[in-house]
Amino acid sequence: MAAKKLRRAQLSQELCERLSRCQITTCQDFLCLSLLELMKVTGQSYYEVQKLLCKVSRACAPKMQTAYEMKLRKSVSPSSAFLSTTLHSLDGVLHGGVPCGSLTEITSPPGCGKTQFCIMLSVLATLPVSMGGLDGAVIYIDTESAFSAERLIEIAGNRFPSYFDSDEKVFCMTRSIHLYRELTCCSVLKRIMSLEEEIISKKVKLIIIDSVASVVRKEFDTKLQGNLAERSNFLTRGASVLKYLAEEFSIPV
Protein backbone atom coordinates (compact mmCIF):
# COMPACT_ATOMS: atom_id res chain seq x y z
CA MET A 1 0.00 0.00 0.00
CA ALA A 2 2.76 2.40 0.84
CA ALA A 3 4.64 1.71 -2.33
CA LYS A 4 1.62 2.64 -4.40
CA LYS A 5 2.68 4.81 -7.26
CA LEU A 6 1.29 8.32 -7.27
CA ARG A 7 0.07 7.81 -10.81
CA ARG A 8 -2.55 5.41 -9.50
CA ALA A 9 -3.64 7.79 -6.76
CA GLN A 10 -5.53 9.80 -9.36
CA LEU A 11 -3.19 12.75 -9.45
CA SER A 12 -2.87 14.62 -12.72
CA GLN A 13 -0.23 13.51 -15.21
CA GLU A 14 1.84 16.70 -15.17
CA LEU A 15 1.85 16.77 -11.38
CA CYS A 16 3.20 13.25 -11.29
CA GLU A 17 5.92 14.14 -13.77
CA ARG A 18 6.88 17.17 -11.76
CA LEU A 19 7.08 15.13 -8.60
CA SER A 20 9.08 12.35 -10.21
CA ARG A 21 11.69 14.89 -11.23
CA CYS A 22 12.30 15.35 -7.50
CA GLN A 23 12.33 11.59 -6.99
CA ILE A 24 8.88 11.42 -5.41
CA THR A 25 7.11 8.52 -7.08
CA THR A 26 5.26 6.65 -4.37
CA CYS A 27 2.67 7.61 -1.78
CA GLN A 28 5.25 6.96 0.89
CA ASP A 29 7.61 9.63 -0.46
CA PHE A 30 4.74 12.09 -0.76
CA LEU A 31 3.47 11.66 2.78
CA CYS A 32 6.92 11.92 4.32
CA LEU A 33 7.36 15.53 3.27
CA SER A 34 6.15 18.49 5.26
CA LEU A 35 3.58 20.92 3.90
CA LEU A 36 6.11 23.60 3.02
CA GLU A 37 8.28 21.16 1.12
CA LEU A 38 5.24 19.94 -0.77
CA MET A 39 4.33 23.50 -1.69
CA LYS A 40 7.81 24.09 -3.03
CA VAL A 41 7.88 20.88 -5.00
CA THR A 42 4.41 21.05 -6.50
CA GLY A 43 4.28 24.81 -6.90
CA GLN A 44 0.77 25.03 -5.55
CA SER A 45 -0.91 27.02 -2.82
CA TYR A 46 -1.37 25.89 0.78
CA TYR A 47 -5.00 24.88 0.42
CA GLU A 48 -4.34 23.05 -2.82
CA VAL A 49 -1.57 21.07 -1.18
CA GLN A 50 -3.85 20.14 1.70
CA LYS A 51 -6.40 18.85 -0.75
CA LEU A 52 -3.69 16.86 -2.54
CA LEU A 53 -2.60 15.40 0.77
CA CYS A 54 -6.12 14.22 1.46
CA LYS A 55 -6.33 12.68 -1.99
CA VAL A 56 -3.07 10.78 -1.62
CA SER A 57 -3.99 9.71 1.91
CA ARG A 58 -7.28 8.35 0.73
CA ALA A 59 -5.42 6.31 -1.88
CA CYS A 60 -3.39 4.44 0.69
CA ALA A 61 -5.39 4.56 3.91
CA PRO A 62 -6.84 1.30 5.24
CA LYS A 63 -10.50 0.49 4.93
CA MET A 64 -12.77 0.98 7.90
CA GLN A 65 -14.69 -1.85 9.48
CA THR A 66 -16.72 -1.82 12.64
CA ALA A 67 -16.05 -4.38 15.34
CA TYR A 68 -19.55 -5.73 14.74
CA GLU A 69 -18.76 -6.59 11.12
CA MET A 70 -15.63 -8.38 12.25
CA LYS A 71 -17.59 -10.41 14.77
CA LEU A 72 -20.20 -11.37 12.18
CA ARG A 73 -17.51 -12.46 9.79
CA LYS A 74 -15.91 -14.62 12.45
CA SER A 75 -19.14 -16.23 13.56
CA VAL A 76 -19.91 -17.22 9.99
CA SER A 77 -16.98 -19.66 9.95
CA PRO A 78 -16.24 -20.60 13.57
CA SER A 79 -14.39 -23.84 12.89
CA SER A 80 -11.60 -22.15 11.01
CA ALA A 81 -10.64 -19.93 13.91
CA PHE A 82 -8.30 -22.36 15.65
CA LEU A 83 -6.04 -25.29 15.04
CA SER A 84 -6.67 -27.68 17.87
CA THR A 85 -3.50 -29.15 19.34
CA THR A 86 -5.34 -32.28 20.57
CA LEU A 87 -3.92 -31.68 24.03
CA HIS A 88 -7.10 -30.94 25.89
CA SER A 89 -5.72 -28.87 28.72
CA LEU A 90 -3.62 -26.79 26.35
CA ASP A 91 -6.59 -26.22 24.11
CA GLY A 92 -8.62 -25.20 27.12
CA VAL A 93 -6.05 -22.63 28.18
CA LEU A 94 -5.77 -21.27 24.63
CA HIS A 95 -9.55 -21.12 24.25
CA GLY A 96 -9.65 -23.56 21.37
CA GLY A 97 -6.12 -24.05 20.14
CA VAL A 98 -3.49 -22.24 18.15
CA PRO A 99 -5.32 -19.19 16.75
CA CYS A 100 -5.52 -18.66 13.01
CA GLY A 101 -4.58 -15.24 11.80
CA SER A 102 -1.96 -14.38 14.40
CA LEU A 103 1.56 -15.22 15.45
CA THR A 104 2.12 -17.72 18.22
CA GLU A 105 5.52 -18.05 19.85
CA ILE A 106 6.78 -21.17 21.61
CA THR A 107 9.80 -20.74 23.84
CA SER A 108 11.58 -23.03 26.24
CA PRO A 109 15.00 -24.19 27.38
CA PRO A 110 16.65 -26.69 25.05
CA GLY A 111 15.31 -30.22 25.01
CA CYS A 112 11.80 -29.47 26.21
CA GLY A 113 10.11 -30.50 23.02
CA LYS A 114 9.58 -27.44 20.81
CA THR A 115 10.61 -29.19 17.61
CA GLN A 116 8.51 -32.23 18.49
CA PHE A 117 5.53 -29.94 19.05
CA CYS A 118 6.11 -28.30 15.69
CA ILE A 119 6.32 -31.66 13.93
CA MET A 120 3.07 -32.73 15.53
CA LEU A 121 1.35 -29.50 14.50
CA SER A 122 2.48 -30.14 10.93
CA VAL A 123 0.81 -33.55 11.00
CA LEU A 124 -2.36 -32.04 12.46
CA ALA A 125 -2.55 -29.36 9.83
CA THR A 126 -2.60 -31.86 6.99
CA LEU A 127 -5.52 -33.80 8.47
CA PRO A 128 -8.95 -33.17 7.00
CA VAL A 129 -11.24 -30.68 8.72
CA SER A 130 -13.48 -33.44 10.02
CA MET A 131 -10.64 -34.72 12.17
CA GLY A 132 -9.79 -31.28 13.52
CA GLY A 133 -7.09 -30.37 11.00
CA LEU A 134 -6.85 -27.67 8.40
CA ASP A 135 -6.61 -29.85 5.30
CA GLY A 136 -3.79 -27.91 3.78
CA ALA A 137 -0.07 -27.79 3.16
CA VAL A 138 2.55 -26.75 5.67
CA ILE A 139 5.63 -24.59 5.17
CA TYR A 140 8.37 -25.51 7.60
CA ILE A 141 11.39 -23.22 7.74
CA ASP A 142 14.09 -25.08 9.59
CA THR A 143 17.20 -23.21 10.77
CA GLU A 144 18.65 -25.83 13.06
CA SER A 145 18.38 -28.85 10.76
CA ALA A 146 16.39 -30.56 13.47
CA PHE A 147 13.51 -31.81 11.34
CA SER A 148 13.42 -35.52 10.88
CA ALA A 149 11.10 -37.06 8.34
CA GLU A 150 11.20 -40.44 10.00
CA ARG A 151 10.01 -38.94 13.25
CA LEU A 152 7.20 -37.29 11.30
CA ILE A 153 6.00 -40.61 9.97
CA GLU A 154 6.40 -42.21 13.38
CA ILE A 155 4.21 -39.56 15.01
CA ALA A 156 1.60 -39.82 12.28
CA GLY A 157 1.48 -43.58 12.47
CA ASN A 158 1.25 -43.78 16.26
CA ARG A 159 -1.11 -40.92 16.83
CA PHE A 160 -3.63 -41.59 14.13
CA PRO A 161 -3.23 -45.25 13.26
CA SER A 162 -6.74 -45.49 11.88
CA TYR A 163 -6.23 -42.66 9.46
CA PHE A 164 -2.73 -43.40 8.23
CA ASP A 165 -3.42 -47.01 7.55
CA SER A 166 -2.27 -47.00 3.95
CA ASP A 167 1.05 -45.93 2.54
CA GLU A 168 -0.69 -43.67 0.12
CA LYS A 169 -2.15 -41.52 2.86
CA VAL A 170 1.28 -41.21 4.45
CA PHE A 171 2.81 -40.14 1.15
CA CYS A 172 0.03 -37.62 0.67
CA MET A 173 0.75 -36.13 4.03
CA THR A 174 4.49 -35.96 3.56
CA ARG A 175 4.07 -34.42 0.14
CA SER A 176 2.18 -31.52 1.58
CA ILE A 177 4.82 -30.56 4.12
CA HIS A 178 7.35 -28.28 2.41
CA LEU A 179 10.65 -28.04 4.22
CA TYR A 180 13.12 -25.20 3.67
CA ARG A 181 16.53 -25.26 5.27
CA GLU A 182 17.78 -21.70 5.79
CA LEU A 183 20.96 -21.09 7.68
CA THR A 184 21.45 -17.31 7.66
CA CYS A 185 19.30 -14.38 8.68
CA CYS A 186 19.39 -12.99 5.19
CA SER A 187 18.07 -16.15 3.60
CA VAL A 188 15.37 -16.51 6.26
CA LEU A 189 14.17 -13.01 5.51
CA LYS A 190 14.25 -13.61 1.78
CA ARG A 191 12.31 -16.83 2.23
CA ILE A 192 9.66 -15.08 4.35
CA MET A 193 9.28 -12.36 1.73
CA SER A 194 8.73 -14.92 -1.02
CA LEU A 195 6.11 -16.87 0.91
CA GLU A 196 3.08 -15.00 -0.34
CA GLU A 197 2.94 -16.62 -3.77
CA GLU A 198 3.73 -20.05 -2.40
CA ILE A 199 0.90 -19.85 0.08
CA ILE A 200 -1.58 -19.23 -2.68
CA SER A 201 -0.22 -21.77 -5.13
CA LYS A 202 0.29 -24.61 -2.67
CA LYS A 203 -2.77 -23.90 -0.49
CA VAL A 204 -0.70 -23.57 2.64
CA LYS A 205 -2.52 -23.56 5.94
CA LEU A 206 0.31 -23.41 8.49
CA ILE A 207 3.72 -21.74 8.65
CA ILE A 208 6.30 -22.90 11.17
CA ILE A 209 9.68 -21.26 11.74
CA ASP A 210 11.97 -23.37 13.89
CA SER A 211 13.65 -21.39 15.28
CA VAL A 212 14.07 -17.68 15.05
CA ALA A 213 16.41 -17.31 17.97
CA SER A 214 19.10 -19.70 16.81
CA VAL A 215 19.81 -17.97 13.55
CA VAL A 216 19.69 -14.52 15.15
CA ARG A 217 22.01 -15.41 17.98
CA LYS A 218 24.51 -16.96 15.62
CA GLU A 219 24.88 -13.84 13.55
CA PHE A 220 24.33 -10.94 15.87
CA ASP A 221 26.59 -10.63 18.84
CA THR A 222 24.88 -8.17 21.13
CA LYS A 223 28.10 -6.99 22.66
CA LEU A 224 29.14 -5.27 19.45
CA GLN A 225 27.96 -1.73 18.99
CA GLY A 226 25.71 -1.52 15.96
CA ASN A 227 24.42 -5.06 16.09
CA LEU A 228 21.55 -4.49 18.49
CA ALA A 229 19.84 -2.08 16.14
CA GLU A 230 20.43 -4.29 13.12
CA ARG A 231 19.15 -7.32 14.95
CA SER A 232 15.92 -5.66 16.04
CA ASN A 233 15.57 -4.30 12.52
CA PHE A 234 15.72 -7.79 11.08
CA LEU A 235 13.36 -9.19 13.70
CA THR A 236 10.71 -6.51 13.37
CA ARG A 237 10.80 -6.63 9.60
CA GLY A 238 10.35 -10.39 9.62
CA ALA A 239 7.63 -10.11 12.25
CA SER A 240 5.62 -7.55 10.34
CA VAL A 241 5.70 -9.62 7.13
CA LEU A 242 4.66 -12.74 9.04
CA LYS A 243 1.82 -10.86 10.74
CA TYR A 244 0.62 -9.62 7.40
CA LEU A 245 0.69 -13.15 5.96
CA ALA A 246 -1.10 -14.59 8.98
CA GLU A 247 -3.87 -12.03 8.83
CA GLU A 248 -4.24 -11.92 5.10
CA PHE A 249 -4.62 -15.67 4.71
CA SER A 250 -6.09 -16.40 8.16
CA ILE A 251 -3.55 -19.06 8.94
CA PRO A 252 -1.59 -19.77 12.11
CA VAL A 253 2.09 -18.98 12.12
Binding site: M1, A2, C27, Q28, L31, C32, S34, M39, K40, G43, Q44, S45, Y46, Y47, E48, L53, C54, V56, S57, R58, A59, C60, A61, P62, K63, M64, Q65, T66, A67, Y68, E69, M70, K71, K74, H95, S102, S232, N233, L235, T236, R237, S240, K243, Y244, A246, E247
Partner: protein
Protein backbone atom coordinates in the same frame (compact mmCIF):
# COMPACT_ATOMS: atom_id res chain seq x y z
CA UNK B 1 -4.71 44.16 5.84
CA UNK B 2 -1.17 45.26 6.04
CA UNK B 3 -0.10 41.65 5.67
CA UNK B 4 3.04 41.06 3.64
CA UNK B 5 2.58 39.36 0.30
CA UNK B 6 5.38 36.95 1.05
CA UNK B 7 3.48 35.43 3.96
CA UNK B 8 0.29 34.59 2.10
CA UNK B 9 -0.35 30.90 1.38
CA UNK B 10 -0.06 31.23 -2.38
CA UNK B 11 1.99 29.15 -4.77
CA UNK B 12 5.69 30.00 -4.64
CA UNK B 13 5.93 30.98 -8.28
CA UNK B 14 3.02 33.36 -7.86
CA UNK B 15 4.60 34.91 -4.82
CA UNK B 16 7.85 35.39 -6.69
CA UNK B 17 6.03 37.18 -9.50
CA UNK B 18 4.15 39.44 -7.11
CA UNK B 19 7.35 40.39 -5.37
CA UNK B 20 9.02 41.11 -8.70
CA UNK B 21 6.10 43.35 -9.72
CA UNK B 22 6.52 45.36 -6.56
CA UNK B 23 3.45 44.31 -4.53
CA UNK B 24 4.13 44.47 -0.82
CA UNK B 25 0.96 44.21 1.19
CA UNK B 26 -2.28 42.31 0.79
CA UNK B 27 -4.18 45.58 0.73
CA UNK B 28 -2.53 46.54 -2.55
CA UNK B 29 -3.54 43.22 -4.08
CA UNK B 30 -7.16 43.62 -3.13
CA UNK B 31 -7.28 47.14 -4.48
CA UNK B 32 -5.93 46.14 -7.86
CA UNK B 33 -8.68 43.68 -8.73
CA UNK B 34 -8.38 40.51 -10.83
CA UNK B 35 -8.09 42.11 -14.28
CA UNK B 36 -5.43 44.55 -13.24
CA UNK B 37 -3.53 41.83 -11.46
CA UNK B 38 -3.59 39.53 -14.45
CA UNK B 39 -2.27 42.27 -16.71
CA UNK B 40 0.49 43.36 -14.37
CA UNK B 41 2.06 40.02 -13.56
CA UNK B 42 1.07 38.11 -16.66
CA UNK B 43 -1.25 35.37 -15.33
CA UNK B 44 -4.70 34.42 -16.55
CA UNK B 45 -7.78 36.11 -15.14
CA UNK B 46 -8.98 32.90 -13.47
CA UNK B 47 -5.71 32.44 -11.66
CA UNK B 48 -5.79 36.06 -10.55
CA UNK B 49 -9.32 35.64 -9.21
CA UNK B 50 -8.32 32.50 -7.33
CA UNK B 51 -5.37 34.25 -5.79
CA UNK B 52 -7.50 37.18 -4.69
CA UNK B 53 -10.03 34.84 -3.11
CA UNK B 54 -7.29 33.18 -1.11
CA UNK B 55 -6.04 36.59 0.02
CA UNK B 56 -9.51 37.72 0.98
CA UNK B 57 -10.13 34.52 2.94
CA UNK B 58 -6.88 34.95 4.81
CA UNK B 59 -7.49 38.57 5.71
CA UNK B 60 -11.09 38.12 6.70
CA UNK B 61 -10.22 35.03 8.63
CA UNK B 62 -7.73 37.14 10.54
CA UNK B 63 -10.31 39.86 11.23
CA UNK B 64 -12.85 37.35 12.44
CA UNK B 65 -10.28 35.85 14.72
CA UNK B 66 -9.41 39.05 16.44
CA UNK B 67 -13.12 39.71 16.98
CA UNK B 68 -13.20 36.56 19.11
CA UNK B 69 -14.70 34.21 16.54
CA UNK B 70 -14.07 30.47 16.45
CA UNK B 71 -11.01 30.52 14.21
CA UNK B 72 -7.87 28.55 14.69
CA UNK B 73 -6.28 31.03 17.10
CA UNK B 74 -8.17 30.63 20.32
CA UNK B 75 -8.16 33.04 23.19
CA UNK B 76 -9.60 32.02 26.52
CA UNK B 77 -9.46 33.34 30.00
CA UNK B 78 -8.42 30.89 32.67
CA UNK B 79 -11.89 31.11 34.21
CA UNK B 80 -13.52 29.91 31.01
CA UNK B 81 -11.06 27.07 30.84
CA UNK B 82 -11.79 26.13 34.44
CA UNK B 83 -15.51 25.93 33.77
CA UNK B 84 -14.88 23.89 30.67
CA UNK B 85 -12.58 21.48 32.47
CA UNK B 86 -15.00 20.92 35.30
CA UNK B 87 -17.81 20.16 32.93
CA UNK B 88 -15.69 17.81 30.93
CA UNK B 89 -16.22 14.12 30.97
CA UNK B 90 -13.78 11.37 31.74
CA UNK B 91 -13.64 7.93 30.25
CA UNK B 92 -13.60 5.50 33.14
CA UNK B 93 -11.39 2.45 33.06
CA UNK B 94 -13.41 0.25 35.45
CA UNK B 95 -10.38 0.11 37.73
CA UNK B 96 -11.24 2.65 40.39
CA UNK B 97 -7.69 2.93 41.68
CA UNK B 98 -6.46 3.89 38.22
CA UNK B 99 -9.35 6.31 37.78
CA UNK B 100 -8.46 7.99 41.07
CA UNK B 101 -4.83 8.29 40.10
CA UNK B 102 -5.80 9.85 36.77
CA UNK B 103 -8.22 12.22 38.44
CA UNK B 104 -11.41 10.61 37.22
CA UNK B 105 -10.35 8.60 34.21
CA UNK B 106 -8.91 9.23 30.80
CA UNK B 107 -9.45 12.89 30.07
CA UNK B 108 -11.00 14.20 26.87
CA UNK B 109 -9.02 16.62 24.66
CA UNK B 110 -5.75 15.26 26.00
CA UNK B 111 -3.28 12.74 24.67
CA UNK B 112 -2.61 9.86 27.02
CA UNK B 113 0.27 7.50 26.37
CA UNK B 114 0.42 4.01 27.82
CA UNK B 115 3.85 2.36 27.78
CA UNK B 116 4.74 -1.10 28.88
CA UNK B 117 6.53 -4.35 28.24
CA UNK B 118 4.85 -6.89 25.98
CA UNK B 119 1.99 -8.75 27.58
CA UNK B 120 1.36 -6.37 30.44
CA UNK B 121 -2.09 -5.24 29.39
CA UNK B 122 -1.87 -2.19 27.10
CA UNK B 123 -4.15 -3.55 24.40
CA UNK B 124 -6.54 -4.80 27.09
CA UNK B 125 -6.83 -1.29 28.47
CA UNK B 126 -7.42 0.09 24.98
CA UNK B 127 -10.20 -2.39 24.32
CA UNK B 128 -11.72 -1.62 27.72
CA UNK B 129 -11.68 2.10 26.96
CA UNK B 130 -13.22 1.55 23.53
CA UNK B 131 -16.18 -0.07 25.31
CA UNK B 132 -16.27 2.36 28.25
CA UNK B 133 -16.48 5.45 26.07
CA UNK B 134 -19.91 4.26 24.94
CA UNK B 135 -21.45 4.11 28.41
CA UNK B 136 -24.52 6.36 28.44
CA UNK B 137 -24.35 9.63 30.32
CA UNK B 138 -26.78 8.63 33.02
CA UNK B 139 -24.37 5.89 34.11
CA UNK B 140 -21.46 8.29 34.30
CA UNK B 141 -20.00 7.85 30.81
CA UNK B 142 -19.56 10.16 27.87
CA UNK B 143 -21.82 8.34 25.40
CA UNK B 144 -19.40 8.53 22.54
CA UNK B 145 -18.02 6.28 19.82
CA UNK B 146 -14.50 4.97 19.37
CA UNK B 147 -11.94 4.81 16.58
CA UNK B 148 -9.41 1.99 16.95
CA UNK B 149 -6.30 2.21 14.77
CA UNK B 150 -4.37 -1.03 15.03
CA UNK B 151 -0.80 -1.37 13.79
CA UNK B 152 0.17 -4.59 15.54
CA UNK B 153 -2.81 -6.78 14.79
CA UNK B 154 -3.56 -7.58 18.43
CA UNK B 155 -7.22 -6.59 18.38
CA UNK B 156 -9.32 -9.65 19.21
CA UNK B 157 -13.01 -9.25 18.58
CA UNK B 158 -13.93 -12.09 20.93
CA UNK B 159 -12.21 -10.33 23.78
CA UNK B 160 -14.09 -7.11 23.07
CA UNK B 161 -17.31 -9.13 23.13
CA UNK B 162 -16.42 -10.41 26.61
CA UNK B 163 -15.57 -6.93 27.88
CA UNK B 164 -18.69 -5.39 26.39
CA UNK B 165 -20.93 -8.09 27.84
CA UNK B 166 -19.48 -7.49 31.31
CA UNK B 167 -19.99 -3.74 30.94
CA UNK B 168 -23.62 -4.12 29.88
CA UNK B 169 -24.20 -6.44 32.81
CA UNK B 170 -22.65 -3.92 35.21
CA UNK B 171 -24.95 -1.18 33.93
CA UNK B 172 -27.95 -3.46 34.19
CA UNK B 173 -27.14 -4.11 37.85
CA UNK B 174 -26.94 -0.38 38.52
CA UNK B 175 -30.22 0.19 36.73
CA UNK B 176 -31.95 -2.49 38.75
CA UNK B 177 -30.59 -1.10 41.99
CA UNK B 178 -31.54 2.49 41.33
CA UNK B 179 -34.68 1.96 39.24
CA UNK B 180 -34.77 5.27 37.40
CA UNK B 181 -36.49 6.16 34.13
CA UNK B 182 -33.55 7.36 32.11
CA UNK B 183 -31.44 4.38 33.18
CA UNK B 184 -33.88 1.91 31.70
CA UNK B 185 -34.33 3.95 28.54
CA UNK B 186 -30.58 4.19 28.03
CA UNK B 187 -30.20 0.45 28.51
CA UNK B 188 -32.40 -0.20 25.51
CA UNK B 189 -29.84 1.31 23.17
CA UNK B 190 -26.77 0.14 25.09
CA UNK B 191 -26.50 -3.42 23.86
CA UNK B 192 -23.74 -5.67 22.59
CA UNK B 193 -24.51 -5.02 18.92
CA UNK B 194 -24.60 -1.28 19.32
CA UNK B 195 -21.32 -1.26 21.23
CA UNK B 196 -19.57 -3.30 18.57
CA UNK B 197 -20.98 -1.31 15.68
CA UNK B 198 -19.69 1.93 17.16
CA UNK B 199 -16.07 0.81 17.33
CA UNK B 200 -14.49 1.88 14.03
CA UNK B 201 -11.50 -0.32 13.32
CA UNK B 202 -8.59 0.49 10.96
CA UNK B 203 -5.71 -1.88 10.39
CA UNK B 204 -2.54 -0.05 9.32
CA UNK B 205 0.27 -2.23 8.04
CA UNK B 206 3.07 0.32 7.95
CA UNK B 207 3.83 3.89 8.84
CA UNK B 208 2.64 5.32 5.53
CA UNK B 209 -0.84 3.95 6.09
CA UNK B 210 -0.74 5.28 9.64
CA UNK B 211 0.23 8.75 8.41
CA UNK B 212 -2.45 8.65 5.74
CA UNK B 213 -5.08 7.58 8.24
CA UNK B 214 -4.17 10.36 10.69
CA UNK B 215 -4.39 12.92 7.87
CA UNK B 216 -7.87 11.66 7.08
CA UNK B 217 -8.97 11.60 10.73
CA UNK B 218 -10.37 15.17 10.91
CA UNK B 219 -12.63 14.45 7.96
CA UNK B 220 -13.76 11.15 9.45
CA UNK B 221 -14.47 12.76 12.80
CA UNK B 222 -16.55 15.51 11.23
CA UNK B 223 -18.69 12.85 9.59
CA UNK B 224 -18.94 10.81 12.78
CA UNK B 225 -19.31 13.61 15.28
CA UNK B 226 -20.03 11.36 18.23
CA UNK B 227 -16.52 9.92 18.34
CA UNK B 228 -14.92 10.69 21.70
CA UNK B 229 -11.98 8.33 21.69
CA UNK B 230 -9.19 7.66 19.23
CA UNK B 231 -6.94 4.74 20.13
CA UNK B 232 -3.72 4.07 18.25
CA UNK B 233 -2.54 0.68 19.43
CA UNK B 234 1.12 0.42 18.74
CA UNK B 235 2.48 3.75 17.62
CA UNK B 236 6.00 2.46 18.06
CA UNK B 237 5.75 -0.70 15.98
CA UNK B 238 5.76 0.75 12.45
CA UNK B 239 8.44 3.28 13.32
CA UNK B 240 10.93 0.92 14.86
CA UNK B 241 12.07 -0.96 11.83
CA UNK B 242 13.23 0.05 8.39
CA UNK B 243 14.19 3.56 9.44
CA UNK B 244 17.75 4.46 8.62
CA UNK B 245 17.03 8.15 8.77
CA UNK B 246 16.30 8.92 12.41
CA UNK B 247 15.74 12.61 11.80
CA UNK B 248 12.97 11.77 9.33
CA UNK B 249 11.42 9.56 11.96
CA UNK B 250 11.50 12.34 14.55
CA UNK B 251 9.99 14.75 12.07
CA UNK B 252 7.18 12.38 11.13
CA UNK B 253 6.45 11.61 14.76
CA UNK B 254 6.29 15.29 15.66
CA UNK B 255 3.96 15.94 12.75
CA UNK B 256 1.80 13.04 13.89
CA UNK B 257 1.71 14.38 17.44
CA UNK B 258 0.62 17.80 16.24
CA UNK B 259 -2.12 16.34 14.08
CA UNK B 260 -3.39 14.32 17.04
CA UNK B 261 -3.40 17.36 19.31
CA UNK B 262 -5.49 19.25 16.75
CA UNK B 263 -7.87 16.30 16.47
CA UNK B 264 -8.18 15.99 20.25
CA UNK B 265 -8.95 19.67 20.72
CA UNK B 266 -11.24 20.27 17.79
CA UNK B 267 -13.43 17.25 18.31
CA UNK B 268 -13.24 17.02 22.11
CA UNK B 269 -11.89 13.51 21.89
CA UNK B 270 -9.42 11.64 24.04
CA UNK B 271 -6.42 10.21 22.22
CA UNK B 272 -4.80 7.12 23.69
CA UNK B 273 -1.53 5.80 22.29
CA UNK B 274 0.36 2.67 23.28
CA UNK B 275 4.12 2.58 23.16
CA UNK B 276 6.71 -0.13 23.55
CA UNK B 277 9.63 -0.21 25.94
CA UNK B 278 13.23 -0.25 24.91
CA UNK B 279 16.41 -0.82 26.84
CA UNK B 280 18.69 2.09 27.42
CA UNK B 281 22.17 0.86 28.13
CA UNK B 282 23.80 3.19 30.60
CA UNK B 283 27.23 3.27 32.18
CA UNK B 284 26.84 0.26 34.41
CA UNK B 285 23.21 -0.72 34.20
CA UNK B 286 20.45 -0.84 31.64
CA UNK B 287 16.99 0.54 32.24
CA UNK B 288 13.70 0.08 30.50
CA UNK B 289 12.46 3.31 29.02
CA UNK B 290 9.61 4.12 26.64
CA UNK B 291 10.57 3.70 23.01
CA UNK B 292 10.76 6.30 20.24
CA UNK B 293 13.22 8.56 21.98
CA UNK B 294 13.28 11.63 24.16
CA UNK B 295 11.52 14.04 21.83
CA UNK B 296 8.48 11.80 21.58
CA UNK B 297 8.13 12.07 25.35
CA UNK B 298 6.87 15.61 24.91
CA UNK B 299 4.02 14.61 22.65
CA UNK B 300 1.78 13.03 25.25
CA UNK B 301 0.20 15.04 28.03
CA UNK B 302 -0.32 12.13 30.37
CA UNK B 303 1.99 9.15 30.50
CA UNK B 304 1.25 5.83 32.16
CA UNK B 305 3.83 3.11 32.48
CA UNK B 306 2.70 -0.48 33.04
CA UNK B 307 5.16 -2.92 34.51
CA UNK B 308 5.48 -6.14 36.45
CA UNK B 309 6.53 -6.63 40.04
CA UNK B 310 6.99 -10.38 40.53
CA UNK B 311 3.60 -11.47 39.32
CA UNK B 312 1.60 -8.36 40.10
CA UNK B 313 0.85 -5.85 37.37
CA UNK B 314 1.41 -2.25 38.34
CA UNK B 315 0.52 1.01 36.68
CA UNK B 316 2.54 4.14 37.36
CA UNK B 317 1.45 7.64 36.48
CA UNK B 318 4.69 8.94 35.12
CA UNK B 319 3.77 12.32 33.70
CA UNK B 320 0.68 14.38 34.33
CA UNK B 321 0.03 18.13 34.50
CA UNK B 322 -2.48 17.94 37.32
CA UNK B 323 -2.11 14.69 39.25
CA UNK B 324 0.56 13.38 41.55
CA UNK B 325 2.81 10.46 40.63
CA UNK B 326 1.44 7.22 42.01
CA UNK B 327 1.65 3.49 41.46
CA UNK B 328 -1.34 1.20 41.75
CA UNK B 329 -1.87 -2.51 41.14
CA UNK B 330 -4.45 -3.78 38.67
CA UNK B 331 -5.81 -7.02 37.33
CA UNK B 332 -6.90 -8.36 34.00
CA UNK B 333 -9.94 -10.57 34.53
CA UNK B 334 -12.20 -12.32 32.03
CA UNK B 335 -14.40 -9.25 32.37
CA UNK B 336 -11.64 -6.84 31.46
CA UNK B 337 -9.52 -4.32 33.27
CA UNK B 338 -10.26 -4.32 36.99
CA UNK B 339 -9.01 -3.47 40.47
CA UNK B 340 -7.11 -5.97 42.52
CA UNK B 341 -9.49 -6.23 45.48
CA UNK B 342 -13.20 -5.99 45.04
CA UNK B 343 -14.02 -2.43 46.09
CA UNK B 344 -16.40 -2.00 49.03
CA UNK B 345 -20.01 -1.18 48.29
CA UNK B 346 -20.30 2.51 49.11
CA UNK B 347 -23.46 4.38 50.04
CA UNK B 348 -24.03 7.38 47.83
CA UNK B 349 -24.12 10.71 49.62
CA UNK B 350 -26.93 13.10 48.73
CA UNK B 351 -26.97 15.53 45.88
CA UNK B 352 -23.81 17.52 46.44
CA UNK B 353 -22.52 16.99 42.94
CA UNK B 354 -20.97 19.55 40.69
CA UNK B 355 -21.62 17.58 37.53
CA UNK B 356 -24.99 15.85 37.19
CA UNK B 357 -23.51 13.49 34.60
CA UNK B 358 -20.95 12.07 36.98
CA UNK B 359 -23.13 9.98 39.18
CA UNK B 360 -20.98 7.89 41.54
CA UNK B 361 -20.74 4.28 40.50
CA UNK B 362 -22.01 1.59 42.77
CA UNK B 363 -19.59 -1.30 42.52
CA UNK B 364 -21.06 -4.72 42.39
CA UNK B 365 -19.64 -7.42 44.62
CA UNK B 366 -17.35 -9.91 42.97
CA UNK B 367 -19.04 -13.25 42.60
Amino acid sequence: MQREVGSLPLAPSLRARLAAAGFQTAQELLETGPCGLSKEIGISKEEALEALQVVRQECHGGAARTAGGSGTARKFTALELLEEEQAQGFIITFCSALDNVLGGGVQLTKITEVCGAPGVGKTQLCMQLAVDVQIPECFGGVAGEAVFIDTEGSFMVDRVVDIAAACVQHCQLIAEAQQEEDHLKALETFSLESILSHIYYFRCLDYTELLAQVYLLPEFLSEHSKVRLVVIDGIAFPFRHDFEDLSLRTRLLNGLAQQLIIVANDHKAAVVLTNQMTTRIGQSQSTLVPALGESWGHAATVRLIFHWDNSQRLATLYKSPSQREATIPYHITPHGFRDVQPPAVTQNAGGTEVNPRKRPRREEEKQ
